[in-house]
Symmetry: C2
Subunit: 328 residues, 2 copies
């Protein structure tokens, strides 16, 4: 099959089409002809050799896809050849064919296109895991979502609003990005380049007012995060793009405000965890996608041939929402 | 009624017997004639004005007690005059009489003395909350309990062993204290004055081997705690007796090992929370107390008249286990 392969120069990696053995589905897996895949920030790291690929996973990039079932393993019960599916991958989406466990695959209903379907798994499952499983967001709580216009950010805003009727503060670096967040349901919009988010939050919601923070930035926001949290507040770290070294940390608020600080990624979770997450997520959200309360935010749809352009767009933070690769 | 009252010199506080209005039980409360109460470290802070008393609570010290029901509020269903009870208080144990909500009171069965009963609530409920509710300890996990010979430490060792069959590492500052821990069921004994606990843990259980840490020390142990934790590891902070300022903290392991770091105290929790905790704790442990698998560890039983001596013993860390006040 055709696949996008990374050449062997980690400093200056280039992706090129090449031949690769078509994967064989295991007994519980589907072989899927890929229609669309989507970029994830980790793709940029992985192609430079800076993200170790979990054991047993393919070296081909691509953590999600949509497509059509080409064949099924002998024990597969839920799908058959010709079904339209989408889902989370351990890798392998940047290729003509990929395999997926039937319990990680979801049916594409008529109300979703292939491009939209490929834009859902990573950001919505990550956001669902962060808000509901790890952050234990409760009805009507106040949540702060950093990088609100990122893929996970846009999913988190929508889920917080429609699943938990939350008050939602977001940070982003431009008026356009903040406008996008507003259109998805956030209520306080902070341009981190111009404003101190802790000040703006105190003005709007009061001191110690945030119940849950979803953070991708890390150390630069540590102090302001901690000071914004209220009693029983939580931070969920999904990434630390701004650095991870905090010069002076005071542990007292952790005790006094009974805080919970946790980090997580989705990729290195067990198959069982991903199955349960996928099932619970889709049961909670399918109707909301159908009613268009939830919408995958797509920044650009790019032809496979232009994959380098798509990666550049992401590395320069030009996208607000997902970048889709199409048309292998 | 007689009560131990703190005079008004916060730098040099002295406790003296005085007259105080006998509390009136609310409709769901019991009035209890106190037989025994027990010291808690927070008593030392509170008498110096360094621990703000939660709103609505009495200024009299004493966070737990055992005694005999003297009278009951009009809606009380579970107890009547003459019943022997014990339980957690918001304060008020250092007195001849105290009140307690009937849902926070537990019956003293024949297998427990008044002194033993007064030694149970704070340390066992705190340890249960830390291990089970906040730390989510699972069957057979490996737990590190700092200050293993403290009141909460001795309770945590026993609960971790008998409820979850855990592997238990402890730290303490003397051979006698470590021997006490060993007798309660811990498996790795580290004298923090002589040994690096992270090294000892690595030797015995391997790298990244700890699932849950119960810590009272704070910043001095931060780095070793983080490095000892394995995937999905948790720290529960109950106190920060050694300080709370961490220099140059690296957030990366929080993300990479998917850590959870949380702080909690029991005292400022809601009545509803304490009721649920008390009920679940007693349902899980009553049989184990009866079979003497669980034992409150009592360091000394002191007459009320010698309360200052008892406080001195605690402030000098001379106790291993609870100090009981008796005989008002």
């Amino acid at each position: 099959m055709k696949a996008l392969l990374v050449n062997n120069q980690p400093d200056e990696p280039v992706m090129e089409f090449g031949d690769y053995p078509t994967p064989e589905p295991e007994e519980n897996e589907l072989l899927v002809k890929v229609k669309s895949t989507a970029l994830n920030r980790v793709d940029l790291l992985q192609k430079r050799g800076k993200y170790p690929v979990p054991e047993g996973e393919t070296l081909i990039l691509g953590l999600e896809m949509s497509g059509v079932v080409e064949s099924v393993g002998k024990d597969v019960k839920k799908f058959r050849k010709g079904d339209r599916v989408f889902g989370l991958l351990g890798g392998g989406g940047y290729a003509e064919y990929t395999t997926i466990h039937e319990d990680l695959a979801l049916s594409i209903h008529d109300f979703i296109s292939f491009e939209e379907a490929a834009a859902i798994p990573e950001v919505f499952l990550t956001a669902y895991q962060a808000l509901i499983w790890l952050g234990e967001l409760k009805e009507g709580e106040t949540v702060l979502i950093h990088a609100g216009a990122s893929g996970v950010g846009t999913a988190a805003i929508q889920l917080a609003k429609h699943l938990k009727n939350a008050q939602i503060a977001v940070t982003a670096g431009s008026k356009e990005k903040l406008d996008l967040c507003r259109s998805l349901g956030s209520t306080l919009h902070i341009n981190y380049k111009e404003q101190d988010f802790a000040e703006k939050i105190k003005e709007r919601f009061g001191e110690n007012s945030i119940d849950l923070i979803i953070d991708f930035v890390g150390s630069p926001y540590w102090k302001n995060n901690i000071s914004s949290l209220g009693m029983d507040g939580r931070i969920v770290y999904l990434s630390m793009l701004g650095g991870a070294e905090v010069k002076e940390m005071d542990l007292v608020p952790i005790l006094r405000k009974r805080l919970t600080i946790r980090g997580s990624t989705l990729r290195n979770r067990s198959l069982e965890y991903k199955k349960q997450l996928t099932e619970e997520f889709w049961n909670s959200t399918k109707d909301l996608f159908e009613k268009e309360k939830l919408t995958p935010v797509i920044s650009a749809i790019v032809d496979w041939a232009n994959v380098e352009k798509a990666h550049k767009m992401m590395s320069e933070n030009k996208n607000a929402g997902k970048i889709i690769l199409n048309g292998m």
